[in-house]
């Protein structure tokens, strides 16, 4: 005796948020039943394991059928197959596109290609996110990337409108797309301590200040590609380290301003050249991996860092022979805020 067929279909599609999460997390039906049993749902309605299994199967099937629609969320609102109240639709979409920070941290900046997809089982093992869930998240990244790639207009807005995501999630996706597009490496050991949110913030800064879109908001890829002219101009900032006079002048200005204001002044003074070189080299070589870590030192506090960078930036304005004030501001504004963000434990 065995149940050959077992379905339950409601006029309003019945969805249990808990089961949805289990499905998204890549649990098998049997594992999901186990989790639910442990969660005590059985006591609620004198249910047995069979009932739970049947319910879980039904829900899983429903989600699988919905999945196709979730790939283009706009369809969910005007499809006719499932009658789902709008607030539920929003929940379904938001959760489907939600991702694990640990997972995204692994693929951030990598090419969203088949090659990467093949590595997902390693990532799954490393992050203990189920492979199924990894695949969904990876496919989500890829799908969003593909869609917005060809769209004009602001990136975050495009993602939000196209995938009906919340502002927060849309911004995160924008960061992922940005990183994937520019292939900024984030896997370096020195960057390991940084969370996805740190990177997302930086991406946000870059998008709003350094991309084509910051200048012209009606071109393709405006928020994904960095402003090439700007990058060219950045090269000219090199003068700050190549011109010995300027370097010294800059150093003395900064040191004057800093003196007495920080405990690590000596160290700051001593490493000025290196620090400056680091910062300017990033500018000259921005297409290379984003190396925003040169100033990190164990002994500097965040306040020290802030103080230093503020004076470093401001002092450059006073330099007579330094002509690239606009570029300098556009550059340092972002670098400063990124470094502040990253300067944590």
């Amino acid at each position: 005796m065995s149940v050959e067929l077992d379905v339950f279909v409601g006029n309003t599609t019945i969805m249990d948020e808990e089961v949805y999460q289990l499905w998204l997390d890549g649990y098998t039906v049997n594992d999901a039943v186990k989790v639910r049993m442990e969660g005590g749902v059985m006591d609620e309605c004198e249910a047995s394991k069979d009932v739970l299994l049947s319910d879980t199967m039904d829900q899983y099937r429903t989600f699988q059928m919905c999945e196709r629609l979730l790939h283009s969320p706009a369809k969910l609102a005007n499809q006719l197959l499932f009658q789902i109240p709008p607030h539920r639709q929003i929940m379904l979409i938001e959760r489907y596109y939600a991702f694990d920070d640990t997972f995204v941290r692994e693929v951030l900046g990598k090419k969203l290609s088949k090659g990467t997809k093949k590595d997902l089982d390693d990532i799954s093992a490393k992050t203990s996110v189920t492979l199924k869930s990894c695949r969904r998240q990876f496919d989500n990244f890829k799908r969003v990337f593909k869609v917005v790639e060809e769209l004009k207009g602001p990136l975050v807005e495009n993602i939000r409108q196209h995938f009906l995501l919340s502002d927060k999630l849309a911004r995160d996706y924008a960061a992922i797309v940005f990183f994937a597009n520019n292939r900024f490496e984030t896997g370096k050991r020195k960057l390991q301590y940084l969370s996805f949110q740190d990177f997302a913030f930086c991406a946000g800064q870059l998008i709003s200040n350094w991309t084509v879109g910051a200048v012209d908001n009606m071109v393709e890829d405006m928020d994904v590609d960095l402003d090439k002219e700007f990058l060219q101009e950045l090269k000219e900032l090199k003068i700050l380290i190549t011109d010995k006079d300027l370097l010294d002048q800059h150093k003395s200005l900064v040191c004057t301003a800093l003196r007495g204001k920080t405990k690590v002044f000596i160290e700051m003074e001593g490493s000025f050249k290196n620090l400056s070189r680091g910062l300017i080299n990033i500018a000259a070589n921005i297409s290379l991996p984003l190396r925003l870590y040169p100033c990190r030192s164990d002994r500097w506090s965040a306040a020290d860092m802030k103080l230093y960078l503020t004076h470093y930036t401001n002092s450059a304005h006073i330099l007579d022979t330094f002509k690239h004030q606009v570029v300098w501001d556009r550059y340092m504004g972002v670098v400063k805020s990124c470094i502040f963000k990253m300067y944590h434990d």
Partner: protein, 1099 residues
């Protein structure tokens, strides 16, 4: 040329990719009606094409308009090869043919393909211009309204109920035609879908014609069914109740039609006058079975019916007609009695049948003259306006086993043209055969009803179960006596009722009073005086197929009661098989009945409503499932407990027996608590809510054995008169008792019933969730016993219920209403159970008092006021004169009674009074629905107009405006609620848009890829829901009421990775609006009305 059909194809969306190279589709649309086809331009390379076509115009007969659906086919243009079909939409344009229903069909329809399911959507606008030629109008039956609802639809008033209408049409099943071997599955499925659509249309038109002939304008309780007889064809049949309905808003004088029945007047005169001898021969001719000689044989369950009804004789060329003629008709009049469980089952049934037949003959000889042989006094309605139903006798049912035989028509043979709809050539005599079969069954039902002293059958329904060439035809209903004032003359066999009913009965118990003669009871039953009025006799239990009358006095809540039964049967062929089945049937009926009775008593209830017994036949087993809603009627005596007695000592120790006895008593006590059954006796203890019933009176009449007040009295002393004795004489009996006890009560917060109204709950809140669930069980073990099978089957049903409770737990407190179980044996080792029901939330706070008040405030005076019928209807009919007179005097008497009842000293009178008034106010609302209110009416009309406006063909703008007007902000899809009930809580139906009757086939050759059988069926059911919703939305509606899934035939072949499923659904598309909207808009009218009825109630 009385009609012009116009269609416009606006746009498509979400189309599938048909061209792999470009990932796009070059779509165009063919619009076909009858033999005319139009095409749109190709919209190249788009998955969201905008066609914006011209108006395609079809000039057609209204007859075609009724029969044919508009067929829209979406195709992918291919320059080099044949165009690929994407899918189809069939639009039934019937709703556009009534003046009051929808005026335009406009909206997004799912594009459906029988192999791929839904593939995108298409936006279509359809209109019909009917040329108002009244004469032509009447030739077809355009304008006759159809309702699936089994009560008088909400915004209508019935001025007249004409009676039973039935029709069936037969055709060859395209699936079994020779051409099917060479065409694709898709073509075959589409041929079938189209054929059934055509047949349904034709059937509806024919029924409409009958209704017009009778002088009616509507069919209520329309029930259409398919019999897929395989090789022998496809039968589409329908029954319904013809009525003359007035739209309440019309405000016209209600009596205009009542005296005008030119068509039927002569006939009715003939039937009503008992002294007209001239009519006798006609009757004899028409009814050979009841007056014919072979009476001794009729008493036997296996006797064959008289030759005139034999199925295939007229056309059979073979000489041995007895080989093919087989009509075995076990008859069971399932009466309300039967508490005497001691008799051997089959014998008792036999005995009962004998008595019935005897009575039947007696009845036939005495009142036969009055019969209108051509008409059956049957009503498919299950709930009635107050005052309509006078007395209820009990359930009557008849079953008959038939052998389906392919009609040999040499003219057709194998060379038959494969044209689908050649009505002239197709099996010309087959409908007559099927007609005769049903006629025979109906006659039997009618005679059962007569044996119960009743002249009508209400809550009537018919069904079939087919396995290979064997077909069980079943019909059941509730024998009743109706108030003749509301009937068309002659439609009831009024003369049959004797004069025991001169004394009128109060409405809240009157229907319980026995209609039959106390001395000649058709079955053994214990009669007592009614616990309400103390004047008339009532039976100890009452079984009915109808809904609980709204005026009935009940205690506590109702609950779903099911009897389940499996019987193994040897595999056999043809006649032997049919004989085996028909031999089994009486045993099954008896056992189901006993199970129901036991379970009823176990729940301490005394009446069943909505009883539906289904017997399904498979190759090696029969399945029986009886579902009903149990309730405690305060007019009936309290049910005694169940007593266990051991017959064979030694086998079972007395300890064992007493332990079982204790379990049973405990269960009864628990159930009493659970369903809050606190009948009058308990009220004295101050437990629960007291029921304002004249206690002192009931005391007087209560028999000695029942006067016990305490729960502990429930462990019944031996010899107690009404105790129900179960004997344990073998292990089977023990099993049976165990199986009785395993029915788990619903978890806290849940109630369940299979009727329209949940007894004891009426304060619904707005939560509604309709669902369909299908479960198929494979019996792997071939050596199963009957007991083992029973257990499996019972568990299957119980587990289904448990699943529902679990899934719907977020709706608590909630009630599962209209739980409709359908069982089938699709293959040898498969059992399929299909359930459709609705879960509705209710307000827990208010339920407590409702039941207690019911009896008090339903005075017969009020009932009179609520009547939506003209009263002078039968005044000129001589035979019913006496009755009418007595009825009027009765009204007077019952008015006198109500103050008497009110003067009884209640425990907490003041308390009660306030809630009582509240209830009256509530009731005033319902009354107002029926009475004239110009202000509100116009309001609601304006509403409906505006909602139609919204659906007007403004393409894009339309959906947007809809979006903004719906309560759900972001969605562009109209929310369509569905319910198997005739109402949606918290809303008022302001317009019926027409009947929804859809038939779909889905097939797959990639079962595994679609998620196995469950995945396949899951998506198919979801698709069916989606298509129903889309059609309703396109009609401008926002809900489907009286929804039912009448057929769900599932076949699979996992080895071939194939499956096929057929689903037939129906319902009424409506526009409903929130009740609170209405109340606020017409508050002035409200207060006036409320005040009026309050004073009425107080007097």
């Amino acid at each position: 040329m009385p009609g012009k059909l116009k269609a416009k194809i606006v746009a498509g969306r979400h189309l599938p990719v048909m061209d792999r190279a470009s990932d796009l589709t070059d779509a165009f649309v063919e619009v076909k009606f009858g033999n005319t086809t139009f095409k749109t331009d190709v919209c190249p390379k788009s998955l969201n094409p905008q066609w914006n076509s011209e108006w395609f115009k079809f000039e057609v007969d209204d007859e075609d308009l009724q029969d044919e659906p508009l067929q829209i086919t979406v195709l992918d243009h291919d320059t080099y090869s044949a165009n690929d079909a994407i899918g189809k939409v069939y639009i039934d344009i019937d709703p556009l043919l009534y003046s009051e229903a929808a005026s335009v069909i406009s909206g997004w329809f799912p594009i459906y393909d029988t192999i791929h399911g839904i593939r995108g959507e298409i936006n279509v606008i359809v209109k019909v211009e009917l040329f108002n030629d009244l004469n032509r109008f009447r030739q077809s039956s355009c304008g006759v309204k159809f309702f699936c609802t089994t009560c008088i639809p909400q915004c209508y008033r019935a001025t007249l109920v004409h009676g039973f209408v039935e029709e069936l049409v037969v055709n060859e099943d395209p699936e079994y035609q020779w051409i099917d071997r060479i065409r694709t599955p898709r073509a075959s499925n589409e041929a079938r879908q189209r054929l059934i659509s055509l047949m349904s249309g034709e059937l509806q038109r024919k029924i409409g014609l009958k209704v017009l002939e009778m002088g009616g304008n509507a069919v209520v309780g329309y029930l259409q069914c398919f019999d897929l007889e395989g090789e022998s064809g496809l039968v589409v049949r329908a029954i319904g109740t013809a009525c003359t309905l007035d739209k309440l808003s019309s405000g016209s004088a209600p009596n205009t039609n009542t005296h005008m029945h030119p068509n039927t007047a002569p006939a009715s005169n003939a039937c009503n006058s008992p002294s007209k001898d001239g009519k006798e021969p006609v009757f004899v001719e028409d009814l050979p079975s009841s007056s014919g000689p072979p009476t001794p044989f009729r008493a036997l369950p296996t006797s064959s019916s008289p030759p005139p009804f034999s199925p295939s004789k007229p056309c059979s060329r073979q000489s041995s007609s007895s080989d093919t003629d087989l009509s075995l008709t076990p008859k069971t009049g399932m009466g309300s009695g039967g508490s005497a469980g001691k008799e051997a089952g089959p014998l008792r049934t036999l005995l009962r049948q004998q008595t019935q037949t005897a009575l039947e003959q007696r009845g036939a000889s005495s009142s036969g003259l009055l019969l209108n042989a051509r008409e059956f006094p049957f009503f498919t309605l299950t709930s009635f306006p107050p005052g309509f139903l006078l007395h209820v006798g009990g359930v009557v049912s008849a079953r008959s086993v038939k052998l389906l035989d392919r009609i040999h028509n040499p003219a057709l043979g194998n060379t038959r043209s494969y044209k689908l709809l050649d009505w002239n050539s197709v099996t010309a005599d087959e409908p007559e055969t099927r007609d005769a079969w049903w006629e025979e069954i109906r006659q039997e039902i009618k005679s059962h009803a007569r044996a119960l002293g009743c002249h009508a059958v209400v809550g009537y329904s018919e069904s079939t179960s087919i396995c290979e060439e064997v077909c069980i035809l079943s019909a059941s209903g509730t024998a009743a006596i109706l108030n003749p004032r509301y009937m068309r003359e002659g439609c009831l066999d009024i003369g049959c009722t004797d004069h025991r009913f001169e004394e009128p009965s109060p409405p809240n118990c009157g229907f319980c009073h026995i209609p039959y003669d106390e001395l000649n009871m058709p079955f053994p039953a214990q009669l007592t005086y009614c616990y309400h009025c103390r004047r008339q006799k009532v039976p100890d239990v009452l079984f009915t197929t109808i809904d609980l009358p709204s005026e009935a006095a009940v205690a506590g809540k109702g609950c779903l009661i099911q009897a389940r039964l499996c019987r193994l049967k040897k595999k056999a062929q043809g006649e032997a098989n049919a004989t085996a089945i028909s031999n089994l049937l009486p045993f099954m009926e008896y056992e189901l009945h006993t199970q129901l009775m036991n379970k009823l008593k176990l729940r301490s209830m005394n009446a069943l409503f909505g009883l539906h017994i289904q017997i399904s036949v498979g190759e090696n087993m029969l399945l029986g499932l009886a579902s009903a809603t149990g309730v405690y009627l305060t007019a009936l005596p309290a049910p005694g407990g169940i007593q266990i007695a051991g017959k064979t000592p030694g086998d079972l120790s007395s300890e064992h027996i007493s332990s079982i006895q204790k379990r049973i008593n405990d269960t009864i006590a628990v159930n009493k608590e659970l369903y809050q059954i606190n009948p009058p006796e308990l009220a004295e203890e101050g437990v629960g809510s007291p029921i304002p019933e004249p206690r002192h009176r009931s005391r007087l009449f209560r028999s000695h054995s029942e006067s016990s007040d305490e729960l502990s009295e429930l462990d019944l002393s031996h010899g107690k008169k009404d105790a129900f004795v179960l004997e344990i004489d073998d292990t089977d009996a023990v099993e049976d008792i165990h199986s009785l006890l395993i029915d788990a009560p619903p978890p806290t917060g849940f109630y369940s019933c299979n009727t329209e109204n949940m007894p004891g709950i009426s304060n619904w809140t707005s939560g509604v969730q309709m669902f369909t669930s299908v479960r198929v069980l494979r019996l792997s073990n071939a050596n199963l016993t009957n007991q083992g099978l029973n257990k499996i089957f019972t568990d299957l049903c119980e587990n289904l219920l448990k699943s529902f409770y679990f899934k719907l737990r977020s709706m608590i407190p909630c009630c599962l209403c209209h739980l409709n179980f359908t069982v089938a044996v699709p293959e040898e080792e498969l059992i399929q159970v299909t359930v459709t029901a609705v879960a509705m939330t209710y307000d827990k706070e208010q339920t407590q008092e409702k039941t207690a008040e019911k009896p008090v405030n339903k005075g017969s005076l009020e009932a009179e006021e609520q009547l939506q019928f003209p009263l002078e209807l039968c005044a000129d009919s001589s035979s019913s004169n006496i009755q009418t007179a007595s009825k009027i005097s009765g009204v007077g008497e019952s008015t006198n009674m109500s103050p008497r009842a009110a003067s009884v000293d209640y425990g907490s009178f003041a308390d009660r009074c306030s809630t009582w008034l509240e209830l009256l106010r509530l009731k005033a609302h319902t009354i107002r629905r029926g009475s004239v209110k110009t202000s509100r009416r116009t309001q609601s009309l304006a509403h409906s107009v505006s909602s139609l406006e919204r659906c007007s063909p403004l393409q894009e703008g339309r959906s947007r405006s809809l979006r903004s007007s719906r309560s759900f902000g972001g969605s562009s899809v109209t929310v369509v609620k569905m319910t198997p009930l005739s109402f949606l809580p918290g809303t008022r139906i302001i317009k019926y848009l027409g009947i929804i009757n859809m038939f779909f086939i889905r097939e797959t050759t990639s079962l595994r890829e679609e998620g196995g059988v469950s995945g396949f069926l899951h998506s198919f059911i979801a698709e069916v829901f989606a298509m129903v919703r889309a059609h309703v939305a396109a009609l401008g509606g926002n809900a489907v009421v009286s929804y039912s899934m009448k057929e769900c035939v599932f076949m699979e072949n996992p080895n071939k990775n194939q499956a096929q499923c057929l689903i037939n659904v129906s319902g009424d598309a409506v526009i409903c609006i929130s009740e609170t909207d209405q109340e606020s808009s017409a508050s002035t009218a409200n207060t006036g009305q409320t005040g009026g009825s309050e004073t009425d109630g107080a007097t």
